[in-house]
Amino acid sequence: MYNLAMLKIYRESVAAGFVQVTNYRSEIWLAILAKVFQVFLLILFWSVVSKTSQIKFEIGELISYFFIANAVQVLVDGEALRFARLLTEEIKNGTVSSYLLRPINAPVFLYTRFLGNQGLIIIISLALTVFGFFVYFQGNLIKILLFILTVFFALLSAFGLNLIVGSFSFWTTESKGIKHVVSHVIRIFGGSLIPITFFPDRIKLLILATPFPSFAYIPGILIRGGITSEIVFGIFSAFVWSFLLLFFGFWLWKKGVKQYESVGI
C-alpha cells in the first residue's frame, strides 16, 4: 500500500515537472536546435576526416552513429549532467531541506520531477534515435533488445553518476567544476565525439571497462554488423557499473545529508 502511494507521488512529480517545462518552450526548442547543430558539425568533421584521409566511412553509418550516440547521451543525461546541476542548486540554495523533511526518497523524488522537466528533450532524443535507426541499421530484434538493455543500464549509471557529482555539493557547496570535469571526460571516453575504435587496443579495453561507453558508444555501434565481443563486454560493464554507481551514489547522498546544515532546520 505504502509503495503504491509512493509510486503515485513520483508519477505526479513527473507530471508536475512536465507542466513546469511547458512554460519555457522557446528555451527547449533552441536547446534542441543547438544540439542538432552540434551533431551536424560532428558529422561534417568526420566526413572531412573520411574524405581527406585514409579512413573511409559510409555517410549513412556516420550519420546514424552520431545521431544515436548523441541522442542516447542526452536521453540518459550522461554528458551535461543536468540532474547533478539541479541537485547542486537545491543544496546550495537550501531548498533541498523541504524534500528531506518529507517521508519520501528525496533523490528519487527530485529525479522524477527532473524527468518530467526533461520530458520534451526525452521525446526529441527518442525521435532522433529512431531517425538514426532508419538511416542505417543492420541488425535484428535481438540487437534492438540489447540496445534497450544498454540504454536502461546507461540510465541507471548516469543517475548514479549525477547523484555522486551532485552530492559533492554537501561538502563543497559549488560542484560546478567537478561536474565540468566529469562532462569533459565522458565527452571523449563516452564515444559521442570520437568512436572508441580510434584509440589503441589496450586503451580501448580500459575505456570499455568504464561506465562511459554505455552512454553513447555501445548504443551507437549496435546499429551495424554482428554482436561482437566488444558489445558483450560493453554491456556487461554497463550492468556492473549501474549497480556500483547507484550504490555509491545513495551512500554518498546519505553521508552528505548527515552533515548537511541548513538555516531553519
Binding site: 519555457y24 522557446s26 536547446a31 547543430f37 561534417l44 572531412v48 581527406t52 565540468h180 571523449i188
Partner: protein, 275 residues
C-alpha cells in the same frame, strides 16, 4: 557633437570599463573554490581534447591538408579565441539575457550612462585569462613545441592576429544580436546555448574542410569559421585570398552597425519585468 561633449563621452566610457574591470576582478577573486574548479575543468578539457586530436592522428596523416602540428596550431587559435570570448564577451551577453528576464536591466536603463557600452563591457574577466587560460594551455604548448616543424612568416602572423581581433568583434556582435531575442521571447537560456554552440567549436574543422560555397558566407551563421578556421588558414599560409580578407573585415563593420540597430529596436520592444 562638439569636442568637449566628445571628450566627456570618451571619459565616461573609459570610467565604465575601468570600474567594471576592477569589479569583475574582485568578483572572481572572491570565489576561490570556484576558480579552482574552473581551472580543473578547463585543464581537463584541454587534456581530453588533446587526447581526441592525438587519437585521430594516430590513425590518419592529415585532415583537410592539416598535419598534426598544423592542427595543434589550429587548436591553439581556437583556445585563444575561447578565452577571449569568455573573458570579454560572452559573460556580458549572458548577463544581458538574464537581466532582461529578471528585470535587472531596468536599473541600468534608468542611469545616465551610455547603455549599450555599459552592457557590452559589464564584465571584463582578466582573472580568467591569468588563472585559467595560461595554466590550461601548458599541455598544448608542450605538444606544440615538441612537434613544431612549421614556418610562419611575420606577415602571416600579423594577418592572423588581425583576424583574431576582427573575428572576436564579429563573434561578439553575432552572440549579442542572438541574445537580443530574449527581449521578444522573455527567455534567455536557449539563446545562450545557441550562441555558444554556433560561436565556439567542438570539432576542429579546418577552413579547407568546409564545403566550397560555405567558405565564403558560412561565417555569417557559424562565426567559428571566421575567428578560428580562417585565422588558422591565414596564419599557416594556406589562404592568401585578399578579397576574402576584405569580405570578413567588411562583415565585421556591418555586424557592429546591425548590433547598434537591433539594440535600439529591442529597447523599443522591451517591457520591463518590474513595471
Amino acid at each position: 557633437m562638439n569636442l568637449s561633449e566628445f571628450k566627456e563621452g570618451v571619459f565616461i566610457r573609459w570610467k565604465i570599463v575601468k570600474a567594471n574591470t576592477m569589479y569583475s576582478l574582485q568578483e572572481s577573486v572572491a570565489y576561490t573554490a570556484n576558480n579552482w574548479g574552473s581551472l580543473a575543468s578547463t585543464f581537463i578539457f584541454m587534456v581530453t581534447f588533446l587526447i581526441f586530436v592525438t587519437a585521430i592522428y594516430g590513425n590518419v596523416k592529415s585532415i583537410a591538408g592539416y598535419s598534426y602540428s598544423e592542427m595543434l596550431v589550429f587548436v591553439f587559435i581556437a583556445q585563444v579565441n575561447y578565452y577571449l570570448t569568455w573573458g570579454f564577451s560572452l559573460p556580458n551577453v549572458v548577463k544581458l539575457g538574464r537581466g532582461v528576464k529578471t528585470g535587472e536591466l531596468d536599473m541600468y536603463l534608468t542611469k545616465p550612462i551610455p547603455h549599450l557600452w555599459f552592457v557590452t563591457f559589464r564584465k571584463i574577466d582578466l582573472a580568467l585569462l591569468f588563472s585559467n587560460a595560461f595554466p590550461s594551455l601548458i599541455p598544448l604548448i608542450y605538444l606544440l613545441i615538441k612537434n613544431y616543424n612549421l614556418q610562419i612568416g611575420f606577415g602571416n602572423f600579423i594577418l592572423g592576429v588581425t583576424m583574431i581581433i576582427f573575428g572576436q568583434i564579429f563573434l561578439h556582435c553575432f552572440q549579442f544580436i542572438l541574445l537580443l531575442g530574449a527581449f521578444w521571447s522573455g527567455e534567455a537560456r536557449g539563446f545562450e546555448l545557441l550562441a555558444y554552440q554556433l560561436g565556439n567549436y567542438n570539432e576542429p574543422i579546418p577552413f579547407e574542410g568546409y564545403p566550397a560555397n560555405f567558405r565564403n558566407w558560412g561565417f555569417v551563421i557559424l562565426p567559428v569559421i571566421f575567428h578560428t578556421a580562417l585565422t588558422a588558414s591565414y596564419l599557416l599560409g594556406k589562404t592568401a585570398n585578399l578579397s576574402l580578407f576584405l569580405l570578413v573585415l567588411g562583415a565585421t563593420i556591418i555586424a557592429l552597425l546591425v548590433k547598434n540597430f537591433v539594440w535600439k529596436l529591442a529597447l523599443r520592444q522591451y517591457s520591463s519585468a518590474s513595471s
